[in-house]
């Protein structure tokens, strides 16, 4: 950024310009005056030298070489010199005789010491030059030739009449010599000095002062509106669009102010329009957000419904399949079980030769697998038997306590923490199925805490629901598995069928409740069940 503002620049520039103009005017004025004075001096000098050169008495005196005859012509010349500028005079005869040389007493230089510095016979007309003496004096030097010439015109005519000019030849108008006068520039120097100090310098000073004043005024009148505009522009830039500039003139500044006002007006309108648009957009956005939220909710509901439907369909399919094949599988498994039992009893009493000792081990395995298959079949059959709910108002806490008693807890290091809300309202539920759910959830939690841990069970009334929370400190479920845990036949356990949580979910749904799971691997899993209060 330039540290000088436009006002200082303008004043500086115009002041310099005006000072230059002032000095130039002063110089020009002085030069003109000096030239005028010099011209006047030259005119006077030429006039004096011509009068002297044409003075008949001078010619006569020169023709007879009589110095004494110059007294009257010189006196006349001095009378003509009203300004007393005549400093010296000199009369020379051809070829180089000085007939007369005199000077006024008030000059410092003696005329005799002044050089001639001209070739007398080459002077054909009055000439002028500046003559500087050794002691520094300067003179305006005028030299004029003096020719012998008949001055009486009647005699010229007589010569013409009596001899038809045969006795009179212009060429005989021979050069007698020259007259030289010197005019002192003292008077014009004094006048010039006076003019310089009384006119030129005051004039220049006045021009400079007036000029600077005018430049300040102009700078103020030009820059002030610009500065106002800058301030207003800053205000407009900071958002205050109500600023207007007062239009004081019809010039460019006035036009700028007018355009600025138009611009701010346009900006105000644009900002108003923008605000309206923004309001509309905000409203639209709000509406869109609402719609989006609703859409998300709807979508979630749809997804949920879809999942529920899929899950239901899956459960229905699984139920149908289970009820179909369970009976068919149970009977063969019963026969196999009996056979295995018989074989085990037979081989366990004595050693039979030729039979591998590992047969008993294999039979134990077969027996276990038959039990496991029966369990799966029982689960499937149990799931099929949950089809109908027998809801009656029941105390949830009681069901939980019973479930805790019935649930198989392999690890005794697990601490059960109860946090039941007292006077929890009765919930209309199928107590058996709900008890089965709680057992299932407690067993799952215990299975997740193989090295022991803490199972917290909370109940509380929440709005129109009763919320039951099972929080374990087990291994947790990964995010990928978490999405699938309510799907039928999905299990992470090696001996699971994958129907437990699916059945839980299905039963809760049947009770118009919800079941949600949050879990972090290594930290534990929290399951929230909400059951609606009786309406």
């Amino acid at each position: 950024m330039n540290k000088f503002n436009i006002r200082i620049k303008f004043i500086l520039f115009t002041s310099l310009l005006i000072i230059f103009i002032g000095i130039s005017s002063c110089w020009f004025f002085s030069t003109q005056i000096k030239r005028q004075l010099e011209d006047e001096l030259k005119k006077r000098g030429y006039s004096l030298i011509v009068q002297l050169a044409q003075d008949g008495e001078v010619k006569d005196s020169m023709s007879v070489a009589q110095r004494a005859f110059f007294e009257d012509p010189i006196n006349r010349l001095r009378e003509l010199d009203r300004d007393k500028e005549l400093a010296f005079w000199r009369v020379l005869l051809v070829p180089d005789k000085i007939l007369l040389e005199e000077n006024e007493s008030w000059i410092e230089t003696n005329v005799a010491s002044m050089p001639l510095s001209f070739d007398l016979e080459n002077i054909t007309e009055p000439v002028f030059n500046l003559l500087s003496t050794n002691n520094g004096e300067q003179f305006y030097n005028f030299i004029a030739p003096v020719h012998e010439k008949r001055t009486i015109s009647e005699e010229e005519f007589a010569a013409q009449v009596f001899s038809l000019d045969e006795d009179y030849n212009e060429e005989e108008n021979k050069l007698l010599g020259v007259v030289q006068i010197g005019l002192s520039p003292r008077r014009i120097n004094k006048k010039m000095h006076a003019v310089l100090w009384t006119s030129s310098i005051p004039l220049g000073f006045i021009i400079v002062l007036v000029g600077i004043g005018v430049s300040c005024f102009i700078a103020r009148s030009v820059v002030k509106p610009v500065e106002d505009l800058v301030k207003l522009t800053d205000r407009v830039a900071s958002g205050d669009l109500d600023q207007t500039v007062e239009i004081r003139s019809g010039d460019e500044i006035g036009m700028l102010a007018s355009r600025f006002n138009q611009m701010t007006k346009s900006l105000r309108k644009l900002m108003g329009d923008k605000e309206n648009v923004m309001t509309t957009l905000r409203e639209l956005n709000k509406e869109l957000s609402t719609i989006n939220k609703e859409l998300v909710q709807t979508n979630e509901q749809l997804n949920e419904t879809q999942e529920r439907l899929i899950r239901t369909e899956k459960l229905a399919a699984v139920g149908t399949l289970a009820s179909g094949i369970s009976h068919e599988l149970r009977n063969p498994l019963g026969a196999i079980k009996n056979a295995v039992f018989f074989l085990k009893r037979k081989f366990s009493d004595r050693d039979i030769p030729g039979v591998d000792k590992r047969v008993l081990q294999f039979l134990d395995i077969m027996d276990d697998e038959i039990d496991r298959s029966n369990k799966i079949i029982n689960d499937l059959l149990g799931f099929a038997s949950f089809a109908k709910l027998k809801k009656i108002p029941f105390d949830i806490t009681e069901i939980i306590e019973e479930a805790l008693l019935r649930a198989k807890r392999a690890n005794k290091k697990i601490i059960i923490s109860r946090n039941f809300e007292p006077e929890l309202p009765m919930v209309e539920i199928d107590a058996n199925q709900m008890g089965q759910i709680f057992i299932n959830l407690i067993e799952n939690a215990c299975q997740a805490m193989t090295d022991g841990g803490k199972l917290q069970i909370k109940t509380r009334k929440y709005e129109d629901f009763v919320e039951i929370e099972f929080a374990d400190s087990g291994c947790g479920i990964s995010e990928k598995e978490l999405k699938k845990i309510f799907d039928p036949l999905f299990t992470t356990k090696h001996d699971g069928v994958g129907m437990g949580l699916a059945v839980c979910h299905w039963i809760i749904q049947k009770h118009e409740g919800t079941i949600d799971v949050t879990s972090k691997v290594g930290e534990g899993t929290r399951i929230f069940i909400k059951l609606p209060l009786k309406r």
Binding site: G56, I152, E154, L164, E166
Partner: protein, 312 residues
């Protein structure tokens, strides 16, 4: 052998040198000649005057030449007064006018003053000889060659020669000649005047008028008059030499002689008063034969007349 008369002359010369005032003692008077400038015409007058002075025992004390300079001339004339001559001869207008102004009590005889009336040379001590021959004498002279002079044209500037024209018109009318006048104010009007006079005049009379006669205008007058067969009549033989047909003029030496005679007469008078201004007592006729031939004029008739000069 030196003879006695010769010895007398030698003694007289030596005596004169040793005692210059003694010469005057034997003369009737002393004279000084003042010339306006060094012109051959003035020198002829001077020569004629000197010669006649010797005849009349008038001693020429000094001869001054003013060289045409007024101021110096005035100083010279003041010095002349100190010489106290008995009579002064002034030749030319400059010498005459200065003498008139500066000298009061010495008789002055002037001559060679063109149109003397312009200078009012009327004074008790001034006698003069007119430069112009009398009009009547001029006409007689012109008619000797040009017989049929009825209408004589003249170009003049009234401020210069108006007095001569008035006198001439009166005299010519008396003898049946009409003077056809054309006034001009500047030399540039000469051509117009010649054009205006052409066909109206039998001859053109040229006076010593400085407005009319200049170098350029005279050549124009000469050629125009010859082209239009107009005899050009002048008052000075100089113009005849230059191509004019003829002039009636006074001989300059004769003027000097006449002036010396006038001086002698004045010195004899006890009062030494002015004898007035008189015309030259003799005149001559100059004719340019070439111009006459061009104009078809026969010169045989005038060759017998005395004092006729035929140029070239």
């Amino acid at each position: 052998m030196i003879k006695i008369p010769q010895i007398s002359y030698i003694v007289l010369i030596v005596f004169s040198i040793l005692f210059p005032g003694a010469n005057y003692a034997f003369s009737k008077g002393t004279a000084i000649i003042i010339k306006s400038q060094d012109l051959s015409a003035y020198n002829n007058v001077e020569a004629g005057f000197k010669k006649e002075c010797r005849n009349n025992d008038i001693t020429i004390r000094s001869i001054y030449n003013l060289n045409g300079k007024m101021k110096v001339g005035r100083k010279m004339v003041r010095n002349i007064e100190k010489e106290k001559p008995d009579i002064i001869l002034t030749i030319g207008v400059l010498a005459t006018t200065i003498a008139k102004e500066e000298i009061e009590d010495i008789p002055i005889i002037f001559c060679m003053v063109i149109n003397h009336e312009r200078y009012e040379l009327i004074k008790q001590n001034i006698t003069g000889i007119s430069n112009e021959v009398a009009i009547e004498s001029q006409l007689i002279g012109y008619q000797a060659l040009v017989n049929s002079l009825r209408n004589v044209g003249v170009i003049y500037d009234p401020s210069n020669t108006g007095n001569i024209i008035d006198d001439a018109e009166r005299q010519m009318k008396g003898i049946g000649i009409r003077l056809v006048k054309y006034e001009i104010k500047s030399p540039e009007m000469v051509g117009k005047a010649l054009h205006a006079l052409n066909g109206k005049i039998d001859a053109l009379w040229i006076l010593p008028d400085r407005t009319v006669v200049t170098k350029d205008s005279f050549n124009l007058i000469k050629t125009t008059t010859i082209e239009n067969n107009i005899p050009l009549l002048c008052t000075n033989d100089v113009f005849v030499k230059a191509g004019a047909l003829m002039a009636v003029f006074s001989d300059y030496a004769e003027i000097g002689r006449q002036a010396a005679q006038l001086a002698n007469k004045i010195l004899r008078l006890p009062s030494k008063d002015s004898l007035g201004i008189i015309y030259p007592d003799t005149y001559k006729l100059a004719v340019n034969s070439r111009t006459a031939k061009k104009l078809g004029l026969n010169l045989d008739t005038i060759r017998r007349i005395p004092h006729v000069i035929i140029y070239p």
